[in-house]
């Protein structure tokens, strides 16, 4: 059964901006491609770790970070294609039950960077259901801003949380953050751990 049930679809930039508006000192990991541009568009921050490669890494980078920093909220913002490449990570994360980890998928049901080929979420796979079956504490597919707003407190609540946000395929303006991996790592660690990190 397809997880796409409603015609009303979200604007990805509004979704990311809405979630990050209440981030406080949360740590953010973004999946390669549009989710990285979305987070950069919402406002650059040294506590954003933008990935530009390693497709399938985002959720597990989030787990390593959440385990290392159990008192900080960690939010992974990624795409459906990136998440589909790491479905096993859903089980790995659920086995750890990190209370401070939330994953939000910007699910446009397409590979946006490679020519808009349909992904499995556009062919019937519901990834929030897969996260639930893996053992995530809170999971939801959201279709409207009203639904998203009711889920924002849960995104900052007891994890592991998984939200599949159904967004349009509309391309937003490119907002490219820094891309040198060492620079991104060092500025993140300095912001989180101090000058001697």
């Amino acid at each position: 059964m397809s997880a796409r049930k409603k015609a009303s679809l979200l604007d990805r930039r509004k979704v990311v901006a809405q979630i990050l508006a209440s981030r406080g000192d949360a740590l953010v990991v973004t999946g390669l491609g549009a989710p990285t541009w979305d987070a950069a568009a919402a406002g650059d921050c040294a506590l954003n770790f933008y990935t530009w490669g390693g497709m399938g890494c985002a959720a597990m980078v989030g787990l390593g970070l959440a385990l290392a920093q159990p008192k900080r909220r960690v939010i992974v913002i990624t795409g459906d294609g990136e998440m589909l490449m790491a479905l096993g990570a859903l089980a790995t994360i659920a086995a750890q039950q990190p209370r401070n980890l939330s994953i939000v998928v910007m699910d446009n049901e397409h590979y946006g960077e490679t020519g808009m080929q349909v992904t499995h979420t556009g062919l019937g796979t519901g990834i929030a259901g897969m996260a639930k079956a893996a053992g995530f504490r809170a999971t939801q597919t959201v279709y409207t801003m009203a639904e998203l707003k009711t889920w924002i407190p849960k995104i900052y609540g007891a994890g592991p949380v998984f939200v599949d946000a159904k967004v349009t395929t509309e391309r937003a303006a490119l907002v490219l953050p820094a891309r040198d991996g060492t620079v991104l790592k060092l500025r993140f660690r300095e912001a989180l751990l101090g000058k001697n990190a």
């Binding site: 990991v29 490669g53 390693g54 597990m60 980078v61 989030g62 290392a68 060492t182």
Partner: protein, 172 residues
């Protein structure tokens, strides 16, 4: 004491001494005791992985958060890691990989050979420093040196432990 028990306990002490706080693993029979020790250690978060590349991403997140991470895997898992290792190398993430080899000394299962025989080449090709160890008595010392190299210089270092040192799997 069995040789594998002895080196496993030595390696566990090395990892503790170097303050490794996260250990990701996909099991191998040669790693059985070390995995048990990691899981029983309250200073260490032991993370069973569904596939080895998850561990490379785990280590990246751990280091971003200020913790050292080591990965334990069989040689067949090395191939699963290659693209993800590109991230660790681009970002200069320190990572200690402990790889127990199959597909060498007296191997019975021919399906183990292609990946095992390619391990050194593919790790070197993507930029991982490989330190090979052939004798059980040298394992702990090699892991200690590899850990220092990884964590002091922000490099990915793999210790490959020869099948001869672990003992060849018996199919009986």
């Amino acid at each position: 004491m069995q040789a594998s028990v002895e080196w496993s306990e030595q390696v566990h002490r090395v990892l503790r001494a170097q303050q490794v706080r996260q250990i990701g693993y996909v099991p191998d029979s040669g790693l059985k005791r070390l995995i048990e020790l990691a899981r029983a250690d309250k200073q260490i978060k032991a993370v069973p992985l569904t596939t080895e590349e998850e561990g490379v991403a785990l280590a990246t997140g751990a280091w971003l958060g200020g913790e050292k991470c080591a990965l334990l895997m069989q040689s067949s898992g090395v191939g699963n890691c290659i693209n993800m290792l590109g991230m660790a190398i681009e970002c200069r993430i320190p990572l200690l990989m402990i790889v127990t080899m199959r597909g060498q000394w007296g191997e019975f299962n021919p399906w183990q050979l292609p990946m095992a025989q390619a391990v050194d080449t593919v790790l070197a090709a993507v930029g991982v420093i490989v330190q090979k160890v052939d004798a059980a008595d040298d394992i702990a010392e090699t892991v200690a040196a590899a850990g220092k190299l990884a964590f002091n210089t922000n490099r990915v270092v793999a210790v490959t432990i020869a099948q001869r040192a672990i003992g060849t799997k018996a199919f009986k």
